[in-house]
């Protein structure tokens, strides 16, 4: 398992799906570990009842079917598929509505799905998913990207209420690829994946949605910022180490 995770740290992020399915076939007895530890680009299915697409993940899966957050039914149909309690389902519906507005403000398109389910210790788990195709043939408004995909997975474990406070534990993963292509500079492609955690103890007075929303917003901004400033920055630094910009070369060798 350690070796498998080692490989996933080195495989080009754009090949994550191929790598995961290769590992699953090589190590079938580790399949549940692999599926829970390796995040892969999000898939979607169409809810036949309301003609709207929803995002798939481990949290809305039961056997080989996935529950749609829109109609609360499984696709393909599944008898006795587990569904959240009425109370939690109400929160789930509300979360989907509000998160869709949040998503549209930051992503200018894309799609989102939120799933909730009760866990064993009196709390619940909420999973917020966002998928955006930012390519110029997709929903890239500015048309810069030949290819552009952003997948975000936020899983929040919400603890039981204690004296009007609740513990929230958020685990977020972002996977992205972006490729530009033009005559003068050829193809330029960056791809990556990051996973971070954050825990907070918050008053329930503001409501769960408000607390979870703020945590996700803060985390997404942090991840976007680290990708932009740190991770992309480090690859740029590497390029400049390989071939220092000409000003540096001139500085090192003053004109004789």
């Amino acid at each position: 398992m350690e070796a498998a995770m080692g490989l996933m740290r080195r495989v080009p992020p754009k090949h994550t799906e191929t790598a995961l399915s290769a590992l699953l076939s090589l190590m079938p007895h580790h399949s549940s570990d692999l599926l829970s530890q390796v995040d892969q680009p999000l898939q979607v299915l169409c809810d036949v009842e309301c003609g709207k697409e929803f995002i798939l993940c481990e949290y809305n899966r039961d056997a080989d079917s996935y529950r749609s957050p829109w109609s609360n039914t499984y696709h393909p149909p599944l008898e006795d598929g587990s569904v959240p309690s009425l109370k939690l389902r109400k929160l789930e519906i509300e979360a989907n509505d509000i998160f869709a507005i949040y998503r549209d403000q930051y992503y200018e398109g894309g799609m989102s799905s939120v799933y909730m389910f009760e866990d064993d210790n009196e709390g619940f788990v909420a999973c917020f998913l966002i998928k955006k195709d930012g390519s110029k043939t997709g929903q890239g408004r500015r048309g810069y990207l030949e290819e552009g995909a952003w997948d975000a997975i936020h899983v929040i474990e919400v603890g039981p209420e204690e004296e009007e406070n609740t513990n929230y534990r958020l685990t977020s993963t972002v996977m992205l690829t972006l490729t530009t292509n033009n005559e003068s500079s050829g193809t330029f492609s960056l791809s990556g994946s990051l996973r971070r955690q954050m825990s907070m103890r918050l008053s329930v007075a503001d409501g769960h949605l408000c607390n979870m929303g703020r945590m996700i917003e803060e985390m997404e901004s942090k991840l976007r910022n680290s990708l932009d400033q740190v991770y992309f920055g480090k690859t740029r630094e590497m390029v400049c180490t390989l071939r220092p910009p000409s000003e540096v070369v001139q500085m090192r060798m003053p004109e004789s």
């Binding site: 080195r10 500079s185 929303g213 690859t235």
Partner: protein, 305 residues
């Protein structure tokens, strides 16, 4: 569940194919680390050795890795242009053939090249002048660069009247696993000397890769092709003109990479996710109750979507 159906055993051949895929997709300078993990997952030395002996030579050649020759006469570049046979590679500068161990990525020994392995003295004059010019440029532009120039077509041309082709390769690699960062710059220049047109055609393929993996996995890969031409002249003048073309094209390309990075945070990245919402303020989570009230209201009144 789906994964249970896949539990049917893979054939040895399929396992080798998967192992090769992982090895060939190793980032620059990381194939040995990948090999270690692949070996432990396969848990079968015979299968691993077969995969490694297939994958390493391909990886070494496509990444233009350079290996130190044992007699301290410099580095030999592992490239198909210099391939004499599977593990023997010509180093034209020293007129030696280096015997390499692909999997260990070392050069074991060298032997002098035979006359048949080297170009005619007429072609050699062009090759040698160009090698000297490019070497000068590479030492200046790449702190850890190596380069080599090969004759890849018409090496037996004895004098003016026939076409021949040289290939120049430039490779710079930087591995700093302690800083979680590796990268490589590879350029391949095909240089066709055309006697009838009295021209020299220059075609380049450039490729830059970088990997940063401290608590994450982010990779850059870029590819670019370009071409240019100059007049056929005396060997030294040709060498000078060709190396100026290469220098110019490579610095243009470097500038375009910098430009791509600059555009990234301002514009390109925005098409995936904005830094701030269209409203330029954080999302009003505390007002979300309003949103849902509005929704309920619109539902009751039968307005909205």
């Amino acid at each position: 569940m789906a994964e249970e159906e896949e539990e049917s055993e893979l054939s040895d051949k399929q396992k080798i194919e998967i192992a090769k895929w992982f090895l060939l997709n190793s980032p620059p300078g990381e194939i040995q680390y990948v090999a270690k993990d692949v070996k432990s997952i396969l848990n079968n030395d015979d299968l691993y050795n077969e995969a490694a002996s297939d994958a390493f030579p391909v990886y070494n050649k496509s990444h233009l890795i350079s290996l130190q020759m044992p007699d301290r006469s410099g580095d030999v570049v592992v490239t198909s242009f210099g391939e004499v046979d599977g593990n023997a590679f010509l180093d034209p500068r020293t007129a030696q053939v280096a015997i390499v161990d692909h999997v260990k990525q070392v050069c074991k020994e060298v032997r002098p090249a035979t006359d048949e392995e080297l170009p005619s003295s007429f072609v050699e004059e062009f090759r040698c002048s160009l090698d000297a010019e490019i070497l000068k440029y590479v030492e200046e532009a790449y702190p850890k660069g190596v380069c080599s120039v090969y004759c890849i077509n018409g090496k037996d041309v004895e004098g003016p009247g026939s076409d021949f082709e040289l290939a120049a390769v430039i490779s710079a690699a930087r591995h700093s696993p302690q800083n979680f960062c590796n990268g490589s710059w590879c350029s391949i220049w095909n240089i066709l000397f055309k006697y009838d047109q009295q021209t020299v055609e220059v075609k380049g393929k450039l490729q830059v890769d970088a990997h940063y993996f401290e608590e994450g996995n982010v990779q850059l890969d870029t590819k670019h092709e370009c071409k240019d031409a100059t007049f056929l002249q005396a060997p030294e003048d040709c060498a000078h003109a060709i190396s100026s073309i290469i220098r110019h094209q490579e610095s243009e390309y470097f500038a375009s990479l910098e430009a791509s990075y600059l555009k990234l945070s301002d514009s390109t990245f925005k098409d995936l996710r904005r830094k701030l919402p269209v409203t330029r303020t954080l999302f009003p989570w505390h007002n979300t109750l309003q949103f849902s009230l509005t929704r309920d209201l619109s539902k009751e009144l039968g307005i909205g979507k």
